[in-house]
Amino acid sequence: MTMLGDTLRESAIFNLEGAVTMVVDDSPFSMTLTSSALSGFGIRPAFTLGSGLEAKQILQDTPIDLLIVDTAMPDIDGFELVHWLRRSAPNPNAFAPVIMTASHIKRAQLKRARDCGANFVVTKPFSAGMLLERILWIARDNRPFLEVGDYFGPDRRFRNEIWDGEERRANMKNTGRKGGSISL
């Protein structure tokens, strides 16, 4: 529970008291656990919702600072909610930081997990320390958002290293750039 990740120092100070946070989870007990951990971090969730549809309605017109959403839900699941959110511009929440939590991801849903556009998909078990680490990381996450085919979300490349191998992406072959993208 108190295992800290590499980037967390016990003495580091942070302030998330004003963060408008939404937690979406159809399991009341999981919701309680997430809210309890967040409350320890000084975050009082403004919205705790048990349904993806309810979340979608609120996200349409209420700006939030952080969304924590479970993957498995009966009406619209977390993947569908985040996929919609990312495509909902000019809604300011389209670029909101999103952490998805999952107890288990079915094989058939791995692609959806990769492509939904969340900043992080965290599979359980994760400690409160890991959750805090992810929140603080996400707060400083300045990866650009990319639109590639059906994908809209943060650049999934975490490393920004020059690739010395052959460029195999067709649209990049003539740009003379490596590891780059076309910007608007």
Partner: protein, 158 residues
Amino acid sequence: MTVITHTQRRSRLAEMVDRPGGVSVGSALAKASANLEVHKDQARAIIGDGIAALLAPQSPDLPEAVRLDLAYAASSQIIDAANPFAMDDLCTAAKGLCDLLDAAPRQGGFDWRIVTVHAQAMKLLLALPPQDAEARTLILSNLHEVLKHKLSSGDQAG
């Protein structure tokens, strides 16, 4: 394929995280731990319910796909409840079962003894004292063998 890049504006979360005030990481984690501790007994009860559901005799009238979904839900529930309480061995066992149920043929023929074996193992893991690392490792190692054998052979049938 065209790639369009949107440079991200600094989020409000980024602006507020360094504002004056706030808490230290150590203090935040201590508070979170104390907040969570209150729910530990309830978590153990939910885990117990999940294990009991997995061990309960299955109604033969239910379609196989429904039975698989119910078992998958019970196993997921165990992971959810065990998650923040450092019961990683229980989570590993439940995850292995979820993997097997996810890979099971929906039309029938799943070897339901796999569920019983996992549920009994989880029951033991829940009852073992935390310091009994050797027994925990042995249980997980046996479950891992079941998982490896069943998934690699694609054979969840009896």
